[in-house]
Symmetry: C2
Subunit: 238 residues, 2 copies
């Protein structure tokens, strides 16, 4: 909030003025805003400068334009959250307990969209806080893709990097799913916790832009570790 002189460009000032009206509730979702030419006159600036202000608000999600009609205030998306999830946990260390080729069960066949006779590599990794296991991560990758040949390389890699090894950085995206499950069988054993302890299960599917499945991961986390936090709505940061 440091505005001693006038360091701000004109379009930013116009954008701020419009934004403040929306925040104050003077312009509400669905309302039409002043036209470009109106603001040109009001601020005595060129049209491109006004357009830059509108474009900025549009990028912030506050307004949208309907060609030939005008600019309108958007509906806020209070149900849409942004959150960060990473396998890496602070102050924790992890080790692979198992890396080997297997034939996929039905779940993995579906996730990687491969037939039952196509081998996959299964990576199983446990993360520890001190000597207490807090997370179990099981990954599946199609076998025919050439992953780093040296197994030692693989042992320390986490998933986005593993996927990125064979595709270009922007050529894949990830779908995630969050569930609550009880620790059971293998999982309870690996995490050295009681059956019925509630775990967060984060499932990820790594998908190439052309639809090809390049990875599947199940991440079990004991609580309160691996807390997922997100945020939604417009945050004033401009």
């Amino acid at each position: 909030m440091s505005e001693s002189g006038n360091a701000q460009p004109i379009y930013a000032i116009i954008a701020t003025n419009l934004r403040e009206r929306i925040f104050a509730g003077k312009d509400n979702p669905g309302d039409v805003l002043p036209s470009e030419n109106t603001l040109c006159g009001r601020y005595e600036v060129s049209r491109e400068t006004v357009r830059k202000a509108f474009k900025q608000l549009e990028n912030e999600g506050l307004i949208y334009s309907r060609p030939h009609l005008g600019y309108f205030v958007s509906d806020p998306h209070h149900d849409e959250f942004t959150l960060t999830f990473s396998e890496e946990m602070e102050n924790c260390w992890s080790k692979y307990r198992d890396v080997h080729g297997i034939l996929p069960d039905e779940e993995v066949q579906e996730a990687l969209q491969i037939p039952a006779d196509k081998k996959v590599i299964e990576f199983s990794r446990i993360t520890y806080d001190g000597d207490m296991p807090v997370a179990l991560d099981i990954k599946y990758l199609p076998y025919d893709r050439a992953y780093p040949s040296v197994e030692s390389e693989i042992r320390y890699a986490v998933f986005p990097e593993m996927a990125a090894a064979k595709v270009t950085p922007f050529d894949f995206y990830t779908k995630m799913e969050v569930r609550a499950v009880s620790a059971r069988g293998d999982v309870a054993e690996a995490l050295e916790c009681g059956t019925d302890e509630p775990l967060l299960l984060i499932i990820r599917r790594f998908i190439q832009q052309d639809g090809t499945r390049i990875g599947y991961s199940k991440h079990y986390v004991r609580q309160p570790y691996g807390k997922l936090q997100g945020i939604s709505g417009y945050r004033q940061n401009v």
Copy 2:
């Protein structure tokens, strides 16, 4: 200037060309892109047109600009997910079982940032699939704020709308937190489920832009209901 039904504006063509190079891995994160003037010459267009192409890619998150240095390819954010969460569940109905003023316990005091002697309103709502309870939602609102006076209005409202009743649509945002918990005591009773059944707990804090707390909500969901799904990375939609 190529014919053959070219509906796309020039800046979009330039953006597409740059984007395709990035997707193909010809330009990688950290790489510098051609300068504005270089592209002006290459495409024989004005500088503002080239700038529009760069601006679009910047808004897509593919590139960023460093003034006086150039445009660079971004690092992809494969750990950042977008997900949607709403109290409303498909094919389900819900009813409030309790709405009353109480004195906040420590947890609610912290969440709403109010003193122990400040009353809050507690709303407790259960969502059913048929006759089976699948979600319990408990909300807390500061008492001094004038919420819809008619209690019957409140009974059918969900949270973003309730908050929006007293603040303008863009004047608040939401922080969420996801945990796995076991059904216990009141919660198990309300959901008519066994103790130790794993539940997803979604906590939301509704915060005004000036920092004022306007709501706190705990949402317990039996599995596999209320599955949270998200997506990350660049999706080709252009």
